[in-house]
């Protein structure tokens, strides 16, 4: 599954790890995260993430 990176702060969402502290279990694809989820480091919205290259 693909990793996504926050364009504002560089935080990387890794579906293999998920965000258990936000109630997002390991194995959750980025597309399946709720739309109102925010970057855990800088707080911008899900729409400010993009696919990580390479």
């Amino acid at each position: 599954m693909k990793k996504y990176v926050c364009v504002v702060c560089g935080f990387v969402y890794d579906p293999a790890i998920g965000m258990p502290e936000d109630g997002i279990p390991a194995g959750t694809a980025f597309e399946d995260i709720p739309d109102d989820w925010c970057c855990p480091d800088c707080g911008v919205s899900k729409s400010d993430f993009e696919l990580q290259e390479g």
């Binding site: 560089g10 480091d41 800088c42 707080g43 911008v44 400010d48 990580q52 290259e53």
Partner: protein, 377 residues
């Protein structure tokens, strides 16, 4: 040993506290902040209106929630008025003093005040924190006329956001195109066209000569009528407290590669600091600073290293990403592409690309291209 005191509860202060807590579960951390201490995302301030977010929606956590989560004490709505370096304590507005073993300044920057004839009689807003955002949103009428002073990065973002939310925005700036310091002409003009396309009115190459309540007179004699005025003409690092304590300050509070000021017990990060690469008022370097400084404070001296810094401009009307060359770099723009989709490389004398600006579909090249740019630190 006495604990760590952090002045400021912005992304700088809270990111440092979070990183430090990961490395050191025991150290006592006290944060003092002039504002309410809510955790919020400052970059959202210029993107929140079109998403219908008010202050409550922007405040992600209260200071009390942060205290519980990170195991620290947050003293809210208290300004630090002096740093007593000899006694190693900070003095608060209340008169109370707090002792520190090490002190971290994460005090941010002030919006540069806009002054012109008549400006004392007119409320010109700036939006740099949650309180400002609340004051700005208060009394905005549907389809209101907004005078926006400054077409830089933050001004352009606000122009896009407010227009999308139905405000009628006029932007005044003496520069010939928006983001004048970050974009070459070709991309700047595309951005102006794109923002014009969603309804932003530009008065570029113009300045205001006089402000009256509800109207601005420009230097060509024309008049812009407005309901509310917002200025976004840059930020000035908050250095006064550090300077009064005798720390070395320049444009910002001067720090070395370890984020240390001229006092070895005092550190600075974020918008108030001036690194060896200059002031870097963006989130990406701030996060790198927080990680390096947390390691140093936890006992593992860690120098800050910073790759090139691509910044995404939040103007959905035309996606733009910039990676500015270091201040003072000499070179010239080489622009390719056409229409909305442009790629501009800032190329130095030896042919080495030093920075870039991308628009439209080329913004997808941002990550690989940034890897080819020289490191900042």
């Amino acid at each position: 040993m006495t604990g760590i005191v952090i002045i400021g509860s912005g992304l700088g202060g809270y990111s440092l506290a979070r990183e430090l807590r990961r490395l050191d579960p025991a150290v006592a951390i006290t944060m003092v902040t002039a504002d309410g201490g809510e955790l919020y995302s400052k970059p959202m301030l210029s993107a929140a209106f079109a998403q219908g977010k008010d202050v409550q929606a922007l405040a992600q956590k209260t200071a009390r929630q942060m205290e519980g989560e990170l195991g620290l004490t947050v003293v809210t709505r208290q300004r630090v008025t002096a740093i007593d370096r000899a006694a190693k304590r900070v003095v608060l507005g209340s008169g109370e003093a707090i002792a520190y073993g090490r002190l971290v300044l994460a005090m941010g920057a002030d919006p540069r005040p806009y002054r012109v004839e008549g400006s004392e009689e007119v409320t010109v807003h700036t939006v740099n924190d949650l309180d400002d955002y609340a004051a700005w949103r208060d009394g905005l009428v549907p389809q209101g006329r907004v005078l926006l002073i400054g077409a830089g990065l933050i001004g352009s973002e606000f122009a896009n956001d407010l227009t999308t939310a139905g405000q009628r925005v006029t932007v005044v700036d003496p520069a010939p195109w928006p983001l004048g310091r970050l974009l070459p002409r070709e991309l700047g003009e595309e951005l102006a066209t794109a923002l014009g396309g969603i309804g932003v009115t530009f008065r570029l190459g113009r300045s205001i000569t006089r402000l009256d309540p509800g109207k601005a007179v420009l230097d060509d004699g024309s008049v812009v009528a407005f309901d509310k005025a917002l200025s976004a003409i840059g930020l000035v690092p908050r250095t006064a407290l550090a300077a009064a304590a005798g720390l070395v300050v320049d444009k910002g509070i001067v720090v070395d590669r370890w984020l240390r000021t001229s006092d070895p017990a005092i550190f600075a990060l974020g918008d108030c600091a001036q690194t060896e690469a200059g002031p870097l008022p963006f989130v990406l370097p701030l996060m790198a600073e927080a990680k390096a400084l947390a390691a140093t404070l936890a006992g593992r001296e860690t120098a800050l290293s910073l790759p090139a810094l691509p910044v995404v401009v939040k103007t959905p009307a035309l996606p733009v990403a910039v990676c500015p060359p270091v201040p003072g770099a000499t070179g010239e723009w080489v622009v390719s592409g056409e229409g909305r989709d442009r790629k501009a490389l800032f190329v130095g004398a030896d042919g080495q690309p030093l920075g870039f600006a991308l628009s439209g579909s080329f913004t997808a090249e941002r990550q690989p291209l940034a890897k080819e740019m020289p490191d900042l630190l």
